[in-house]
């Protein structure tokens, strides 16, 4: 599998990364190198192996359904760029 410049641009947009056109060629090359390493894995026969969701051989610990958190909204809002009436304010989102 290899990526072209357009695909890299699209991925960058989805991840909200800004890549200058001058950097594009280089980024595509680097990403393709990484994918090349991945391709090596494809040479191994994994037909009998189950997909692994997590490297730890454990299952998820569960917690009791209890409210344990206090209201820290004042502290959280203090470090937000903009707030009003207890809300976080962001540039207008157009639906």
């Amino acid at each position: 599998m290899s990526l072209d410049n357009n695909k890299v641009k699209e991925i960058a947009f989805l991840a909200r990364l800004s890549i200058e056109d001058s950097e594009l060629e280089q980024s595509t090359k680097e990403l393709n190198n990484i994918l090349g390493l991945m391709d090596q894995l494809g040479e191994i026969d994994t037909g009998g192996a189950e997909p692994m969701a997590h490297p730890l051989e454990m299952s998820q610990r569960l917690r009791d359904d209890q409210v344990t958190e206090k209201d820290l909204s004042e502290e959280f809002q203090e470090i937000a760029p903009k707030t009003g009436s207890n809300h976080f304010l962001v540039p207008t989102v157009i639906e």
């Binding site: 997590h54 998820q60 820290l72 959280f76 809300h87 304010l89």
Partner: protein, 475 residues
């Protein structure tokens, strides 16, 4: 040219846990903005989500209620997209292996027939926060209290072929989640939300391109939105065009659906397993424990109403379609009221009064024990069914209990047959013409005499007794 409609629904059902799915913040509705959003919900660096076991149990209750496959090891994944009400930049959801797999539910159609609708999957995920667009001119305000509230997303197969079927399915799921007590079902507050995938095709063709309808917060709007969308797609196809796969918002004020282009570009969610969460293991013991704790389900209750109480399938369906209605009805009959009569009263007078005054059955001014007394007064011949309706009305208006009203208004049925006989004798002697016609074969006139007796007794005569005496005296 006939078109076939194909509908599948995605239902987001907020689970009734006290705390969030991955944090110990409260899920209570209506708190001051952002006072129930902790560091985990806000996506602060260094926090770790820990799964709420109640949310897992609720998902399993649902799975068992629709005879679904339960995945013994399910996996949480990150669904990546950017939106201000999702501070982490991803929603924790389930993708490849959801906790609940294939299931099935039985829905009742308007024509009385049943239909099985497949459930593709149901998975656990976290809700996003709320964006408020009309609070400030230059800003969008964000309230993250809802962020992290547990959701069960229930995905159906594209098995529905009309808006009405889609509504019947949605109502069935709505009733079920309330029966098993995993969701409060409040559509106004957004606890139960429906998205509809709609496409059309010519009979026998492969599936057409679908549009996803969002922003539907009532069953009425669900039906309207689907019908609008079906019309729109047929118009496009009949003019030789093609339907675009997209998300469309339903606008209940303008009664139209419109394209939500903003979401189109971001359709690649780049799911991957969440490294912060391990696979969720479900043991046989846990499944058994949940199976045992499940209440009687609507379908089972309906069957019991038909088989044990002798109700019609139609009546049983109506009485079990809402848990609160079924509970009320059962409270009435458990005190010993006649089942069929109780069914008629609950579905008749009571439902009509509730609808007319827009009151929920749990807030009924006539509690179940008063309706039981009222029905008992009919069966023990204290009052007639007709008078009972007047008593019901007076009781609804707050004029006291059944027995107080009967006493105060002097509504007791006449039980003294000699008094009744003398009234009937008077009526007969005052209406000799009608007596002659009746005896000449105009049997319809019996109704006239019954009416006269009821008028003379202000409805307090026992109709059965009146009929009996009239029959004797007129033969």
């Amino acid at each position: 040219m006939t078109w076939e409609t194909v509908i599948g629904l995605e239902i987001h059902s907020q689970l009734k846990t006290k705390s969030k799915i991955f944090s110990g913040a409260s899920t209570a509705f209506g708190a001051t903005a952002n006072t129930q959003a902790c560091a985990v919900d806000l996506g602060y660096p260094g926090v770790l989500p820990v799964l709420n076991q109640e949310a897992v149990k609720m998902a399993l209750s649902f799975g068992l209620s629709v005879n679904a496959t339960i995945n013994k090891n399910s996996i949480f994944a990150r669904k990546n997209y950017f939106y201000p009400d999702l501070p982490k930049g991803y929603q924790i959801s389930q993708f490849e292996i959801p906790i609940v797999g294939n299931g099935v539910i039985d829905i009742s159609l308007e024509n009385g027939e049943n239909k099985l609708v497949g459930i593709t999957r149901a998975h656990l995920e976290e809700d996003a926060g709320k964006s408020i667009h009309d609070m400030y001119d230059e800003f969008t305000a964000i309230d993250l209290n809802r962020a992290g509230t547990p959701l069960l997303e229930i995905v159906s197969e594209p098995d529905m072929s009309s808006a009405k079927e889609a509504v019947a399915y949605a109502k069935k799921i709505h009733a079920l989640v309330q029966y098993i007590d995993i969701c409060d079902g409040n559509m106004q507050e957004g606890s139960f939300r429906c998205d509809a995938n709609v496409s059309v095709r010519k009979h026998g063709d492969k599936l057409g391109t679908r549009a996803e309808l969002k922003n539907i917060n009532s069953f009425k709007f669900l039906e309207k939105a689907i019908n609008l969308e079906v019309e729109r797609q047929i118009d496009i196809l009949e003019e030789g065009g093609s339907v675009v796969q997209e998300t469309r918002l339903y606008d209940s004020i303008k009664n139209e659906t419109r394209s939500m282009r903003s979401k189109e570009e971001a359709n690649d969610y780049r799911y991957f397993p969440d490294p912060d969460l391990l696979p969720v293991a479900v043991s046989e013991e846990l499944l058994l424990e949940i199976k045992k704790s499940l209440p009687e389900l609507p379908t089972e209750k309906k069957l019991r109403f038909v088989e044990q109480l002798g109700l019609s399938s139609y009546d049983a369906e109506i009485l079990t379609s809402q848990k609160e209605v079924a509970d009320y009805f059962e409270a009435v009959i458990n005190k010993g009221a006649d089942a069929k009569l109780s069914a008629n009263w609950v579905m008749g007078e009571l439902s009509a009064a509730l609808n007319k005054n827009q009151v929920e059955i749990n807030d009924s001014p006539i509690p179940s024990n008063e309706l039981f007394v009222l029905i008992s007064r009919i069966t023990d011949n204290t009052i007639s069914g007709k008078i009972a309706k007047d008593v019901f009305k007076l009781m609804w208006e707050g004029n006291g209990s059944v027995d107080e009203i009967i006493e105060k208004q002097g509504l007791k049925q006449m039980t003294d047959s000699s008094a009744l006989e003398s009234i009937i004798d008077d009526i007969i002697s005052n209406n000799l013409d009608q007596v002659k016609q009746y005896k000449d074969g105009n049997s319809k006139l019996l109704g006239f005499f019954v009416g006269q007796v009821m008028k003379a007794t202000q409805g307090k005569a026992n109709p059965k007794q009146v009929n009996q005496i009239l029959n004797e005296k007129l033969s």
